[in-house]
Each structure stands twice: as structure tokens, then as C-alpha cells.
Symmetry: C2
DNA sequence: ATATACTATTTCATATAGTGAAATAGTATT
DNA sequence: AATACTATTTCACTATATGAAATAGTATAT
């Protein structure tokens, strides 16, 4: 009997063996977002498709560890302060960020625009570091933010270099129209991804936010895989079409510098 | 038999029922710190007192969810990028931070020094927000950092208002001497905590770092509990003993402003 | 090259620890 | 006071997590 437990299951089991509870608890954490930072037990249970009792118990564990906190008035759940600590540690100890930071700083200064380092995280791009041209010392508020893949220069660039199945999984249709310029047609997006792959950089002009333009270039690791992207972004009044070619070069040079330090060797 | 499972256990079980795996997984995450951001499986298992197999499985789950990542060269474990995202969301959605930020900004500007918001987290103070006087827009690198309780103005202030058992648990002796000025004698610390409680602010002069002075004041919630502290900090050349009294008042006024907004009513 | 010492990973039998349906308690709303 | 809702506790069951031991995988020394 025990030997036959690997029967074909009716439903797809995307989980790995031996850690259901941990995966479920993390699933609960990942539900929280900027748009809805506070959740009731019932909504969380529904969103994660967990039994209410199970969700309650997992949340109690997370609360005891400080990863979630409760609103004493509403009883609602929020992310807790321990996550601020863990996130800070994760940010400061990120090896990619350590290598990139000085390069981002000089890039931001050269271009006099904000520069970011971003990676793929789930079906979004995650801002791992940002250097504002005006405030080159501090970390921006945007570190730790997620942005949609199809409406950002970095997102499109990372998609262009992702495996087919990653791409399929990352892009849950439909493509949300964030502005007039956002690419919402899948065929047109695929075309542009091919172009990005070929030209070695990505441009997003007013696709995320009207009046905001960004240029992204790929970071390669020692296995010649694209693992991250850097970008500069700013007002369309400054990142004009005439100025874009020279900015593209600056971003690409900076990206190559970082890739080199990660052990990538071109050729 | 099942009815007698609540027998007195020889060892203290500080965990809550039903979520051992989650608590253990979080325990693994909390081991990581700035001083040692990368750990081997064996060291993690030893530090958390987990069986190596258990640690391995939990880490595999955490890795699959992106909360930890592995160094491809060494095989070592690091905190992953998902924690950057969760930490960013936790920071941005923190209600205390939302209320405090404008007050911190004006405090930093008035004093022309850096201002911080800090809470108790485990046996450290955690920096929840920081406004640098020079770069008032961005978030500093220090958000998400932990600092020792006995060597910081905020730490001493929060200790002074903590319950006796919290205090006992938080202060694991011995008190590390970070500088010449650090208070390392428990009796002397207790004396100073009493004084801080009475005077309504805390001062740390060169106790964390030589040449660095900070002044902290308490934030009260609607239950009249001290839940957080704000502080200003800077060079001892600027925060001179002569200037301290007026700075104390500014910090206290700012703290009261925040407390008021949290529903605290003095009297 | 070969042996040695180490770390990480897999296997597997076992029972503990996690699960979810149902009942209960606790709060708002009518 | 009754209703509708949300959160919390209880409890019997077994699926799920556990850890000892074996194996695979890597460096370092001989």
C-alpha cells in the first residue's frame, strides 16, 4: 500500500514533499500587497484556498514570530515588523546589490536620472536597489516594490530573456492597460520581446505611468544567464528620443561592468 | 491514552500548538544577520538545534518560495529576494510609520539631524523608519537594522517602559561593551532606566559608537502603552550638552504629536 | 592517483504534528 | 432582542513532518 502512494493524482500538486505547512504560511504572507495591506481571516483563507481553521493557526504562528501583526481595532492582519528586519537584512546582504551599487551610483550621476536594479520575482519585477540622482546616498522608498512585467523596461527585458515556460507562467493574461501606451496585445508584446533580445536593451515610454520613460539593460551571470536588469528612468521631458541613444549606451556599459564582476565573460 | 497527552513535560515547550514546522522555518530565517549573511546547512542546523534533515527540508521549502537563496559556488544559504519584497511591503504598510513619517520629517528639518522611528523586536530595537536631515526624501539604509537595547537611546527608553519579564528576557547578559561609554553594569543600567522613566526621555552619548549622540522620546498608544520610540541622532560635535535641552523638547513634542494621532490622550 | 574527511542529499518507517468539520464564542447590525 | 456576521476553540483522524541511517557528492591531504 505504502509503495503505491505515487498514484497519478487528479489535481496538479505543485508543492514539494514534506513542507506543506511552511509553503502555506508563506502563501499567506505573499497575499499582502500595497493596495490591500490589511486582510480579514476569512478573506485570507479564501484567497489562499485554505481552510479557515488552518489559516487561523498558521497566522497565529506567524503572529507569534512577529511576521504578521493584528489591527487591535478591526482584528485584521498586516505584515509585521520582523519582516522589516528580515527584509532589511536580505537587502543589505544581497550579493547582486553589493556588486551593483557603486555602478548604479555612477550611472545615476552620469545620466542625472534615477537608476535601479531589478530581478524577476514571481510574475513581477522586484526593485532590489535604487539610486536617486538627487539623493545618491539613501535607499528609495521603492526598494522592495513589485511592478508588472509587461509595462516596464526591466520587466520586458527580463521576459525577453526568460525561458518559454517561465514566460508563459509569468504572464497571466490579460495584460492590464496601465496607461494609453501599455502594450496589451500579446502578439505585439512577443514581437517586441524578440526585438529587445536582439538589440540588447529595452525601452518603456509611458507604458507604466504617463510621462515616465525607462531604459533597461541585462545583467549576465557566470552561466551566461540573464539574472537581473538595471535601468535608468525619469521624466519623458528629459529622456527625449534624441537623448535616448546615448543613454542606452551608458546603461549597457554599466550593465556589462556588473556582469563582468559576476564572472561573465563575453564572446 | 489520548486524554493524557498533556502530561508535564520535562523540557520547557515555548512553542504554541499546531505549527511546529512554521515556527522552525521562521527560526531558520531569523538566524541570518548582517555579520553572517551566509550559512552552511550544518551551521544552520546547529544554531537552530534542528536535525540536519529537517533543516534541509525546511530550507528547501523556503528556497522554493524565494525566501532563501543559495550561493551556487559554496552551496551556502542566504536570505532571498522575496524577503526584500515582503519587507518593503511590511515597511510601506506599517501604520505606525505612516503616522510618524511627516512628524519625523519636520523634526529632522527643525533639528537638522537624522530622525528615526524604532520599536522593540526580540532583544533589539528595530529601525522602522529614518529621515536623514540631508536627504529628507529617501529611506536610509538603516531601515530594517537591529541595534542593541542597552547601548541606544531608543533601546534604553523602550526598556525603561517594558514589563519586568520582557526586560528580563530582552536583556541577555552580559551587556556588550561597544565603546568605552557603553553601560555594561546591570545595576547602573537599572538606575538609568528608572531615571529615563521619570524624566520622559533617554540620552545615549557615545555608547553605541564613539562620537554619536542620540536623544529618544516615547510613543504611547491608545492603551497608554509605550509601543515605539523616536529619536534624533548625530555627531557629538553638534549635539553638545548645551544644545541637548532644547533638542529634548523638540523630540518630546514630536513624540507627543504622534501619540496623539494614535489615540493617546494625556492626563 | 588514492585515501580521507567533510558536507549535502535521499531514503524510509514511525508517530507526531497538522488538518478541517463542526460547535462555540464574540461582535456588529438591524 | 434577534439576526448575521466574523473569529476562535474543540476534537477525532490520518496525512504530513520527522530524524536515524545510508548514500552521494566535494574538497583536501597523502
Amino acid at each position: 500500500m505504502m509503495l503505491q502512494t505515487q498514484e497519478i493524482e487528479g489535481q496538479v500538486t505543485e508543492s514539494y514533499p514534506g513542507t506543506q505547512a511552511v509553503a502555506r504560511a508563506i502563501g499567506l504572507l505573499k497575499i499582502f500587497n500595497d493596495a490591500q495591506p490589511e486582510w480579514s481571516l476569512g478573506d485570507l483563507a479564501q484567497a489562499t484556498r485554505l481552510n479557515k481553521t488552518t489559516a487561523f493557526r498558521l497566522l497565529a504562528a506567524l503572529e507569534a514570530e512577529g511576521l504578521v501583526m493584528r489591527n487591535p481595532l478591526s482584528g485584521g492582519y498586516r505584515l509585521g515588523v520582523e519582516l522589516i528586519a528580515l527584509g532589511g537584512c536580505a537587502t543589505r546582504s544581497n550579493p547582486l546589490r553589493a556588486v551593483s551599487r557603486p555602478v548604479l551610483e555612477s550611472l545615476a550621476q552620469e545620466c542625472d536620472e534615477s537608476a535601479t536594479l531589478e530581478v524577476l520575482a514571481g510574475s513581477h519585477v522586484l526593485i532590489v536597489d535604487e539610486v536617486s540622482s538627487r539623493h545618491p546616498m539613501g535607499m528609495s522608498q521603492d526598494v522592495g516594490s513589485r511592478l508588472p512585467l509587461h509595462a516596464t523596461a526591466t520587466g520586458k527585458l527580463l521576459l525577453a530573456h526568460a525561458d518559454g515556460d517561465v514566460l508563459a507562467e509569468s504572464l497571466r493574461l490579460p495584460l492590464a492597460a496601465l496607461t494609453e501606451q501599455t502594450i496589451t496585445d500579446m502578439a505585439r508584446l512577443r514581437e517586441q520581446l524578440a526585438q529587445i533580445r536582439q538589440q540588447g536593451f529595452a525601452l518603456a515610454a509611458g507604458e507604466l505611468e504617463t510621462g515616465f520613460v525607462a531604459i533597461a539593460a541585462p545583467i549576465y551571470d557566470r552561466e551566461r544567464q540573464v539574472t537581473a536588469a538595471i535601468s535608468i528612468g525619469g521624466s519623458s521631458l528629459r529622456l527625449t528620443p534624441q537623448r535616448q541613444p546615448q543613454l542606452v549606451v551608458l546603461v549597457q556599459v554599466a550593465a556589462r561592468q556588473i556582469s563582468r564582476q559576476l564572472g561573465y565573460w563575453p564572446g
